[in-house]
C-alpha cells in the first residue's frame, strides 16, 4: 500500500511537475540513497546512475571512484565499457537497414555469409536470441551471436559495423563514445574515421573508467578490459550522458527508428505453446506489475557492468554504468527477469509501483 502511494506520488510529480519540486527532490534523493547503499553492498568502486525523462536527463548521480589509485571520482560523463549494451546499437543499425529495405528480418544469415556457422538463423532470430522453427522458438541468451550481424551491416551500408556505428555516434552527438578500445589505433581514413575523430576518441579513452576486480571482502584490485575491439555484441565505450542522448533519439523526434519499428522490436516473440519469450529485438522485454519494461545489460568479468531499464509508459530510462562487474555479477539476468537486480527493483518500485 505504502509502496503504491510512493509510486503514485512519484508518477504524479513526474507527469505534472516540469520544474524540480521539493517532494520530487525527496524521491530522487531517497532513490540516490538506495543506489549508494547498493553500490557499497556490491563493492562497486565507481558508478554513474542517470535517469532520462520524456525529453531530457532529469537526474544524474555519479558516485565513487573511476580510478582508485589516482583518487579520480566518477562523473556523469565518465566513459565506461558497456559490453552487452553494444547489442542495442547493433540492433538499431540493423533495424534501420530493414527500414530502408536493404534487408528483411527473415533473411537467413547464409544470404550474407554462406560460411557463417549460424547460417540457418534469420536476422530476427539473432536479434531475439532465439533459434528453431517458427512456432517452436527456443530462447538462449548468447550475445556472441550478434557478431554474425556484421555481415548484414556490410551488405546494407557497404561499410564495417565500426564505420556505421562511428557515423551513428556522431549523428546523435555521442562525442564521448568510442567504437572499441582499439579505434584509437586506426589510421585515418580507415573505417571512414577522421583524424579529428581519432583525437576525440583518444581524449575520451584518457578518461575511461579503470576496471577493477572485487573480491568477497569487497576489496578492489586493478584489472584489465578483456574486450579490446568492437564486435557485434560488445566493445562499445560510452558515457551515461551519451547513452541518454541515444535513448532520447530513439524515443523523441526525429526518431532514429520509426516508432512502429521500435514498437515491434520491443514486442516479445512467441515460443512453443504461445509462451512469450523474454527477449525482443535487441532488448529484453517483460511486464512489471502489468507495465511493459524494456531493458538490457552488459558485463565483463572483473572489469565492468552496465544496466539500462526503460519504462516506455512513464517515459523514463534508468542508466547504470560501473567499473566492476558488481551490477550484474551472480545475478541470473540472462534468464530474462530484471527484478533480480536490486538496482532495477528499487527503480521500478519507486517509479512504477
Amino acid at each position: 500500500m505504502r509502496r503504491s502511494l510512493l509510486a503514485l506520488t512519484a508518477a504524479i510529480l513526474l507527469i505534472v511537475a516540469r520544474v524540480p519540486l521539493h517532494a520530487d527532490l525527496l524521491v530522487y534523493g531517497l532513490f540516490g540513497d538506495y543506489v549508494d547503499a547498493l553500490r557499497a553492498q556490491a563493492g562497486i568502486p565507481g558508478l554513474t546512475a542517470t535517469i532520462v525523462g520524456a525529453d531530457d536527463i532529469i537526474w544524474e548521480h555519479p558516485v565513487g571512484l573511476q580510478n582508485i589509485e589516482r583518487n579520480v571520482v566518477a562523473r556523469a560523463d565518465t566513459p565506461y565499457q558497456v559490453d552487452g549494451l553494444t547489442q542495442v546499437f547493433m540492433t538499431t543499425v540493423v533495424l534501420a537497414c530493414v527500414e530502408n529495405g536493404s534487408v528483411t528480418l527473415d533473411d537467413p544469415l547464409s544470404k550474407f555469409n554462406p560460411g557463417n556457422p549460424d547460417a540457418g538463423a534469420t536476422i530476427r532470430q539473432i536479434l531475439t536470441h532465439t533459434s528453431g522453427p517458427a512456432g517452436n522458438l527456443v530462447f538462449a541468451y548468447r550475445p556472441d551471436r550478434f557478431n554474425s550481424l556484421v555481415d548484414v551491416i556490410s551488405v546494407c551500408t557497404n561499410g564495417s559495423f565500426r564505420a556505421t556505428l562511428a557515423a551513428g555516434l556522431n549523428r546523435v552527438a555521442m562525442f564521448d563514445s568510442v567504437p572499441g578500445l582499439d579505434a584509437v589505433g586506426l589510421i585515418p581514413p580507415a573505417d571512414g574515421i577522421s583524424n579529428q575523430t581519432i583525437e576525440r576518441y583518444a581524449s575520451a579513452l584518457q578518461r575511461l573508467a579503470t576496471p577493477y576486480a572485487v573480491d568477497a571482502q569487497k576489496r578492489a584490485t586493478l584489472s584489465q578490459y578483456k574486450t579490446t575491439t568492437l564486435t557485434g555484441g560488445s566493445g562499445l565505450i560510452t558515457t551515461a550522458r551519451d547513452y541518454a542522448k541515444f535513448d532520447l533519439a530513439l524515443r523523441t523526434p526525429p526518431y532514429l527508428l520509426r516508432p512502429e519499428t521500435l514498437a515491434a522490436a520491443w514486442r516479445p516473440p512467441v515460443g512453443a505453446g504461445g509462451l512469450l519469450l523474454p527477449h525482443g529485438m535487441g532488448w529484453f522485454v517483460q511486464l512489471y506489475n502489468g507495465v511493459p519494461v524494456i531493458w538490457q545489460f552488459g558485463v565483463s568479468d572483473n572489469a565492468s557492468s552496465s544496466l539500462v531499464v526503460t519504462v516506455p509508459s512513464r517515459q523514463l530510462t534508468l542508466i547504470l554504468m560501473a567499473n566492476s562487474d558488481g551490477l550484474v555479477k551472480s545475478l541470473p539476468l540472462a534468464a530474462g527477469d530484471v527484478t533480480v537486480s536490486p538496482f532495477a527493483k528499487v527503480f521500478l518500485g519507486t517509479f512504477v509501483g
Binding site: R2, R3, Q41, V346, G349
Partner: protein, 193 residues
C-alpha cells in the same frame, strides 16, 4: 590419547545428584563481526556492534549439561536508520554444555564449552518496503564461557559464542541464499537453584 581417557573418565564419573544444578542466566551483551547476505542490509550494519539481551537456562551435572538460550538483537541491520526502518535478529538454541567438574572449581571461575543448534529469525523493513524480510532459518552456535558464584545462589557469567544461520532460502532478497552470522559476547547474572 591421555586427553581422551580423561574425558571418558570425567563423563563416567558418578554425578552425585547433589552436584547437579539449575542455572538461570539473564544476560546483556553485544554482537560483533556479523556478516549477512540480505540485500536489505542497506546500511551494511550487520557487521557493526549491536546491543543484545536474552536469557539462558542451564541444567548442569558434574561435567555435562543441557542449555536453552534465547537472544534478541534489535536494530541488527540499522546504523543510521536512514534506509532501514526496523530490524532485529532473534536466536533460540538448544545446547550441550561441557564444563570443568564443579569440585575442581569450587572457589574459582568454572569454564565451559557450549554448542548446539536451533532457529534464527531475521526481520527488516526498509523505507520503500522493497527488501522487507521476515525469515526463519536453522542456526548453529558454538562458544565458551566462565561462571563464578559469589554466594550459593548468585554469580556472574561471561560468554562468547558464534551464531550462524543455515538453510536460508534464495527468494531474490539476498545475494545468494539468505544468511546471517555474528559473534555474541555477553555478561550474565547467574542464579543457581
Amino acid at each position: 590419547m591421555r586427553v581422551g581417557l580423561l574425558v571418558i573418565a570425567l563423563l563416567l564419573m558418578p554425578s552425585a545428584r547433589a552436584s547437579a544444578e539449575w542455572q538461570i542466566k539473564p544476560f546483556v551483551g553485544t554482537i560483533f563481526a556479523g556478516t549477512s547476505t540480505f540485500t536489505g542490509d542497506l546500511e551494511q550494519a550487520a557487521g557493526e556492534r549491536h546491543v543484545t539481551a536474552g536469557v539462558s537456562g542451564l541444567f548442569l551435572g558434574e561435567v555435562i549439561g543441557v542449555e536453552g538460550d534465547f537472544g534478541h538483537v534489535p536494530r541488527v541491520f540499522q546504523s543510521t536508520g536512514q534506509l532501514v526502518l526496523s530490524s532485529s535478529a532473534t536466536t533460540v538454541t538448544g545446547n550441550i554444555v561441557v564444563a570443568l567438574p564443579r569440585r575442581w572449581t569450587e572457589y574459582t571461575l568454572r569454564p565451559y564449552f557450549v554448542g548446539g543448534g536451533g532457529v534464527m529469525n531475521a526481520q527488516l523493513d526498509d523505507k520503500f518496503h522493497l527488501f522487507t524480510v521476515s525469515s526463519s532459518m536453522g542456526a548453529w552456535d558454538l562458544g565458551a564461557g566462565v561462571t563464578g558464584f559469589l554466594s550459593d545462589r548468585f554469580g556472574v557469567s561471561w560468554d562468547v559464542r558464534y551464531f550462524r544461520s543455515v538453510g536460508g532460502r534464495d527468494e531474490g532478497l539476498s545475494l545468494g541464499p539468505e544468511q546471517l552470522s555474528f559473534w555474541r559476547a555477553n555478561m550474565a547474572l547467574a542464579i543457581r537453584y
